[in-house]
């Protein structure tokens, strides 16, 4: 059962903020966030392991709620380079990853 992401797509103007949400019906061992540009491999953004954890670098950050069933990715002051598909991923046993369907983010000038 894959994590559920919302929204499915979002269009921003450069400099605007966005939030991508991810939810699961069960507590997750870990949640991973990756970004993928068309035709390329997914690129690691961050992992959250603990309930209540918040993590971030530059203008991209993420949170993991106490019950470990919801995570959100925050993109502030978006840049053109932020465009791509963002995946929320459940990390499971043996480190197997279960990808969500992704959120297509488009940042326009």
């Amino acid at each position: 059962q894959q994590p559920v992401q919302s929204p499915q797509a979002v269009i921003l103007r450069e400099g605007e903020d966005a939030v991508i949400n991810c939810s699961s019906s069960k507590a997750l061992y870990s949640v991973h966030w990756y970004r993928q540009k068309h035709g390329e491999a997914p690129v690691f953004l961050m992992i959250l392991l603990k309930g209540g954890e918040q993590k971030g670098h530059d203008k991209i950050s993420a949170s993991f709620n106490e019950k470990k069933q919801q995570s959100s990715l925050y993109l502030t002051a978006s840049q053109l380079s932020y465009s791509g598909t963002y995946f929320c991923i459940e990390g499971g046993s043996n480190y197997k990853l279960t990808f969500g369907k992704g959120t297509l983010l488009t940042v326009n000038p």
Binding site: A41, I47, L97
Partner: protein
């Protein structure tokens, strides 16, 4: 940053042929994976490999597929008797022991014609 290397980057094959996709995981990693992404769709888990054996496989990973770590460095995915619907990007990934972050290769785009 260490890299997972995949070859070839693009493979075109005729339906019914066998293909071998190759991956060189990061040298001290112990967990290895293959994932598949059909164009425009999500990334799907195929198989995980640890301690020289399959530790988990998805329902996609049927008898048509096999994996091997023949020489301690390469990790291969063999697809027998390819079908049109096998056309996809195939990603190899690896993990350190006790480290949840996966490192992905750049992928092999398989086109079955």
């Amino acid at each position: 940053e260490p890299e997972v290397t995949q070859t070839p980057s693009h493979q075109v094959t005729q339906m019914g042929q066998e293909v071998i996709l190759r991956c060189v995981p990061i040298s001290n990693h112990l967990y290895f994976y293959w994932y598949r992404q059909i164009l425009g769709q999500k990334v799907e888990f195929l198989v995980s490999f640890y301690n020289n054996e399959i530790s988990e496989k998805s329902e996609i990973f049927d008898d048509q597929f096999s994996v091997e770590r023949p020489d301690g460095s390469n990790f291969t995915l063999k697809i027998r008797s390819t079908k049109l619907e096998d056309s996809a990007m195939y990603f190899c990934a690896s993990n350190l022991d006790r480290e949840p972050r996966a490192f992905f290769g750049q992928g092999t785009r398989l086109t079955v014609v």
